[in-house]
Symmetry: C2
Subunit: 304 residues, 2 copies
DNA sequence: CCTGCTCAATAAGATATGCTAATGGAGGCG
DNA sequence: CGCCTCCATTAGCATATCTTATTGAGCAGG
């Protein structure tokens, strides 16, 4: 295969018809160019130029091939320009794994900010089970993950962002709302809805139910907080929803109402994670900061 | 500018995700590939791959750039394929200069033969004044010329092909046709039409007119033999037309008739010329041979 | 006809590049 | 805990590539 330099020489010489001039244009000397041209012609097994008294003249074959040579160096130039552009500021597609318990309600605003700051950056959001996404992150199938703690992966950079209150919601007509003050005993024997058991949310909910003496509705595992809210609203049971979801457009308190014990202090902690070896590790840290800022803007959340 | 090899490495590694495998596929060892990859990343100023435990994983930037790298090596491959094809048998465009006094009546058949023999060869015929074309040939602006002798250019390979009778034609109703036998005196005072004075034809015609005591119509200089024939047919004067033209489809003897002295023996000699330094010099010699053969097939012409 | 000019080819040597072989080091897995 | 996989690093060597200096061919002008 010819060298890129040889392609450049071919094209430049076709333009100038003069070895010395072409050599100068490429920043080398005439003998070097002469040798490279010969090497190219030898490699191709044909004569590209004819040596006429006035200089170099394309052969018929050369006339046909020069267009192809041009497109090679054009492609190389395009590549280099794209690389320069990418190197100047982050660009490309970041594969972002999020838990469905947080992503849809917080990330749209984050994406908007990122898009303004890095127009060439694209975020591919993929929702999934946090533990599975941690593995995918470690394996390089995702670039960054936003999920509740704990995050297990070995060799991952885990950046805790904020902790978010978990709220107990009940149907609007639930007797719980009749009392002005609630205690743990009021929840004894009640049934809570939950998400897919592989979510960390599930384990946390079970712990909470233990404390309250409540039980988990095992027949149903939702796939989204919206689904849980719908179920609660229709009287199937109680649920625990994160603060940011309730404050979001999707959440709200139209279908359900908050009903908690007076000493209620359950939280969940959210964190971002990425591979510290990643090329864009700095950028991911910045994204994490943006997420934390955005979350705190929406609710007075505590840092961890 | 990155090396072509580096582009190949980039693409191959993006496909395999494994240095050893990619190196094997490219016929080199793993360290060489590792070094080249580093050199490429350094040159671009960005990380294309992320080193994860399982192997190499594209960074977001790398994912964006790999398509460009692919198109570079695709262009290079296309070029090499085209060059191989051209090297296998003559191809390209041969710029062929011809005199309008011979080209249109002889070359179509030659082109047909060449096209059968070398399907990838294209002939660009350019008509023009022979002396100008000789200069263009020497300067490398034409690859081959077919014209009447003499051909002046220095350092040109001139290959005489055949000599062709020149015929005197007169209008059908000209008194010349009444006689069974003509002598030079019959043409004294008659007027001959001619082509552009820069054609060698013009000088030869003036010589002939001198011998016959005839004169040249100086008001009109045709640009083609067809035009001359038309003029003669309409009674403007006499003309001299080459044998091959008269025998061609365009020529024929519908509008004019031959009227010559009994001892008439005027000829013109045609030759092909090219630069002996040309890459396709052998091919041009072959073309010259084809032209000579074709001409002799049409009329019993003498070799020179 | 000789001389000078232009332009390409060649020679020789310095340098840079690209490769291999051998080794080191980090992380995963039984 | 040791082995295995995979990438990085190093040293050494072959070759490619460039530079300077020189030669050679063709043309123009005196």
């Amino acid at each position: 295969m010819p060298t890129l330099r040889q392609f450049e020489i071919f094209v430049k010489l076709a333009e100038t018809g003069n070895m010395g001039e072409a050599a100068g244009g490429l920043g080398l000397t005439q003998p070097a160019l002469s040798q490279q041209l010969r090497a190219l012609e030898d490699r191709l097994g044909l004569r590209l130029f004819e040596r006429v008294p006035k200089g170099m003249q394309l052969t018929p074959a050369g006339r046909d091939l020069v267009a192809g040579a041009r497109s090679v160096i054009a492609a190389a130039r395009d590549f280099r320009d794209a690389a320069d552009h990418v190197a100047a500021k982050p660009a490309g597609s970041i594969r972002f794994g999020v838990s469905p318990t947080i992503g849809p309600y917080l990330l749209p605003a984050v994406i908007k900010i990122l898009h303004e700051r890095y127009p060439d950056l694209r975020l591919f959001m993929r929702e999934g089970i946090p533990t599975a996404q941690h593995a995918a992150l470690a394996a390089g199938e995702l670039d960054m993950v936003l999920s509740p703690l704990p995050i297990a992966g070995r060799g991952l950079q885990v950046e805790p962002l904020f902790r978010e209150p978990l709220r107990i919601v009940a149907p609007p007509d639930d007797p719980l709302h009749d009392k002005t003050s609630l205690v743990h005993e009021d929840f004894r024997g009640r049934t809570f809805l939950t998400l897919d058991h592989r979510h960390h949310y599930h384990r946390q909910l079970m712990d909470i139910c233990d404390k309250l003496g409540a039980s988990v509705l095992s027949d149903y595992e939702g796939t989204s907080l919206d689904a849980l809210q719908q179920m609660v609203g229709s009287g199937v049971g109680l649920a625990i929803l994160p603060e940011l979801y309730i404050r979001s457009d999707a959440g709200g308190l139209d279908m359900v109402r908050i009903a908690e014990p007076d000493d209620w202090t359950e939280y969940r902690s959210l964190a971002a994670a990425w591979r510290p070896s990643a090329a864009y590790a700095d950028l991911y840290a910045e994204v994490a900061q943006i997420i934390a800022d955005e979350a705190r803007k929406r609710a007075r959340l505590q840092l961890i």
